[in-house]
Each structure stands twice: as C-alpha cells, then as structure tokens.
C-alpha cells in the first residue's frame, strides 16, 4: 500500500504504547453485561420490544384518561350552561320589556320623550279605525 509508508521507528513506538494500553483493557463480557444491566436504554432485542410496548401502553392509558376527562366535563358542564343561559336570556327579556318588574330607569330618560315622538312609534287612529298595517299600503288611498 503506497499510502502507508513503513516508518518502522514510529510504528514501533506506537506499538509499545499499544502493548502498554492492552494491560488495562477491561473485560469485554463484563463490559457488555454491566452496560446492559446498568443502563435502561441499553436493553437489547426482547427488552427493547418490551420497553417499546410499555411506552405505547402508557401513552394509550394517558390518552384514554384525557379523553374520559374531556367527555365527563362536556357531559357535566354543557347542560348546566344551557340552562343558566336560557334563564339569563329570559330575565333580560322580561327586564327590558317592563319597567314595572323592578327595572331601573334613569331619571333623565323622560327628557328624551319629545312631544309627538309617539307618532313615530305608533299607528294613528282615525275615527276609531286603525290604518292598515301592511307596509305597502297607502293610508291616504284607504281613507278616500
């Protein structure tokens, strides 16, 4: 090999270092066995499968619990919320429809009631006869 010149002097020095290092090489079997035992992520084959299965089971259990909690909260909260909303709407409607029901009115509200303003909000009565209420109807034509 042309890329690997001999350099025997350097090679010898490195090989001496290597021989020295080999005296402190840890046992292979002990190393692999110890690693498998000590490190949780160091499981092999069936162990890995078992861990993966356990992870999936745990996730499914968590997901199921969350779904159950969400469903329970929907069942418990939604009907109650509907009832209270309906009651609130009814109360507001009755409150705004009648001041006799205890609704509060501003003391200056009367200032907004101008003379003749009732003409704008009510139908006129002539001779005890009510004008036709249809929007397309012409009161003058009807009178004639």
């Amino acid at each position: 090999m042309t890329n690997q010149p001999p350099d025997p002097d350097l090679r010898e020095l490195f090989q001496e270092l290597r021989a020295r290092d080999e005296r402190s090489v840890p046992g292979f079997r002990e190393m692999v066995a110890g690693a498998r035992k000590e490190t949780p992520e160091g499981k092999t084959g069936e162990d890995m499968e078992w861990h993966r299965g356990r992870r999936i089971r745990r996730r499914v259990a968590w997901g199921g619990s969350l779904l159950a909690a969400a469903a329970a909260s929907i069942v418990l909260l939604l009907p109650g919320r509907g009832t209270s909303e309906a009651e609130f709407e009814r109360a507001v409607r009755s409150y705004s429809a009648s001041s006799a029901g205890g609704a509060w009115r501003s003391p200056t509200d009367a200032l907004l009631d101008l003379p003749g303003s009732e003409v704008l909000t009510t139908l006129p009565r002539v001779g005890g006869r009510r004008w036709p209420s249809s929007p397309g109807g012409n009161p003058r034509t009807n009178q004639l």
Binding site: M1, L10, L13, A19, P26, G34, A35, T44, G45
Partner: protein, 178 residues
C-alpha cells in the same frame, strides 16, 4: 448482521477499540470505559447499524469517536455513576523484564508528551495509522475528513512528531542547544 456475529466482531476488536476510546478521551481510562460501554450499547441495541459501506473496524471506530464526542458534551456527573470494571485481560505471559519494561514505559511517556504537542487532527491520524494499523483512507473515513486533508495532517504530524521526539532526547538537546 446477527447479534451473535456482531458480538464476536466486537470481542475480536475489543482491545483495539479500547485503545481508540482511550485516545478519544485524552487517555482517561475511566472515561474511555464509559465511552466504549455506551458505544457497545448503541450497537447491541440496534441504534447504530452496520450496513457494510466500509470495513467493520472503520465503522466501529466512527461510532466510538462520535460517542466520545457526545460523552464529552454531557455532564461529568454521569461518569461517577457508571460501573467501574476491573481489568481482566492482563498480559501475564511474556511480559518484559523490569528493566526493559521501564525503558518501554519511558519511551511511551516520551511519545505521549510529543503527541500532546501536536494538533488533535494530527494526533488522531497518526494514532489510526501507527497504533491501529489503518490506512490513511480508512483513517480519513473514521475522522470524517477528505483523504487529502488526512494526508496533510498525516505528513505534517509525522514530521512534527519526529522533531519533537529528537528534541526530547537529552543528548540531542545539548547538541542542538535547545
């Protein structure tokens, strides 16, 4: 690759892998053990898969290198929790006599001192070529650099290492006046 085949390959390269892990961890033995253990876990658990695009050794060294880099980024507290393993593969038979062992130790210390003065890339490629017997191409693959870049680091590193080793000799120091 079957699990048994994988373990057999790992066991065959275990000593070299530890040497490489040791290099990646600045020769910190405890950290090297942790890194190698984590790298093995990745392989055995299937988090890192060998797809045959390079030699198994090159690929394994790449995994160890990446693991060491990640390990360094993580907290130091994790190191203390890791199992400390006693060395079981001791070289009893054929070990050198005390005097030559001392000389070898001295030479190794000198080499380590000289290596410490090189750039990390130069250190890395020299280790892969001279310690691990990889080619420069394989070294480039492990380091994740181009072949040209690896060659440059290799040549410059080698020259610098020779210079440093010469300077570290007491007799040469007086001769050069440094």
């Amino acid at each position: 690759m079957k699990p048994t085949e994988l373990e057999a390959q790992l066991e065959r390269l275990h000593s070299e892998s530890f040497g490489w892990a040791l290099h990646c961890c600045d020769r910190d033995e405890t950290e090297a053990e942790d890194v190698l253990q984590s790298a093995y876990l990745r392989l055995v658990s299937g988090k890192a898969r060998y797809e045959g695009r390079s030699s198994f050794k090159t690929w394994l060294f790449g995994v160890i290198r990446r693991t060491a880099q990640e390990h360094r980024r993580r907290s130091r507290a994790q190191r203390e929790r890791t199992l400390r393993l006693l060395p079981t593969e001791t070289v009893e038979a054929g070990s050198p006599d005390p005097l030559s062992a001392l000389e070898e130790e001295e030479r190794s210390q000198k080499l380590l001192r000289a290596l410490a003065a090189l750039s990390p890339r130069q250190r890395e490629i020299l280790h892969l070529v001279f310690y691990q017997d990889l080619t420069i191409e394989e070294g480039a693959e492990v380091m994740g650099v181009s072949l040209g870049s690896a060659r440059t680091h290799y040549q410059r590193g080698k020259e610098r290492l020779r210079t440093l080793l010469r300077q570290d000799r007491p007799d040469d120091q007086s001769a050069t006046g440094s």
